[in-house]
């Protein structure tokens, strides 16, 4: 009985590990990418922490 249980859990664990490996390979970490993008954009556009687009409002130059 216990051996059967062990076999079952080993199989389940193996399947889970396999799924995890596949996930690592195809999964795009959207939240991490957003965080990285924000850090780079803040640097390029010199946006200080706490300052957002609304506060950085600037009137458009006349055409």
């Amino acid at each position: 009985m216990q051996n059967k249980l062990l076999a079952l859990f080993t199989a389940l664990g193996g399947a889970a590990a396999l799924v995890a490996c596949v996930t690592i390979n195809i999964y795009f970490p959207a939240a991490a990418a957003e965080k990285a993008a924000d850090r780079i954009i803040d640097e390029v556009w010199q946006i200080k922490k706490g300052e957002d687009a609304v506060k950085g409002d600037r009137p458009a130059a006349p055409n």
Partner: protein
């Protein structure tokens, strides 16, 4: 009894693997010399681009680039120069997206990274700047 111990070890290993995966996804690697140099070059160019965004001459595209959208907003004599600034910026942006993907060992992520940046550039744009919405129409923020 032995089965339970083995089971516990297995569970522990799985939990450890899951934790490692979560940690790996917490941050993308962006601290490489190539990315830093692109960032510096773009930051410097922003001095020229800021006025062009504000006048509406240059807008942010939905695919993470910039484009001269209203040539009439730029005096004829400066148009050539603006064109080359825009071209240089797009070159740096393409290189940036590619480098981030490569720095994380996932060159195939380049387009996802570009799409993420496209959204974030627009999100962080100042009021008055022009951007392309998802259907390609120009919108003044």
């Amino acid at each position: 009894m032995k089965a339970m111990t083995e089971l516990r070890v297995l569970m522990f290993a799985l939990a450890l693997a899951a934790a490692g995966q979560a940690l790996a996804q917490a941050n993308l690697e962006i601290n490489t010399p190539a990315i830093a140099s692109l960032q510096a070059s773009m930051q410097q160019r922003h001095g020229q681009l800021a006025g062009l965004y504000a006048s509406g001459a240059v807008g942010l595209t939905r695919d993470g680039n910039v484009v001269l959208r209203d040539a009439n907003a730029v005096p004829l004599a400066q148009r050539q120069q603006v064109n080359s600034v825009v071209a240089a910026e797009n070159q740096d942006r393409a290189a940036l997206y590619r480098e981030i993907a490569r720095a994380n060992g996932k060159p195939e992520w380049e387009n996802d990274i570009r799409a993420t940046f496209a959204q974030r550039w627009i999100e962080k744009a100042q009021a008055g700047w022009y951007y392309q919405n998802t259907s390609g129409a120009w919108v003044r923020k």
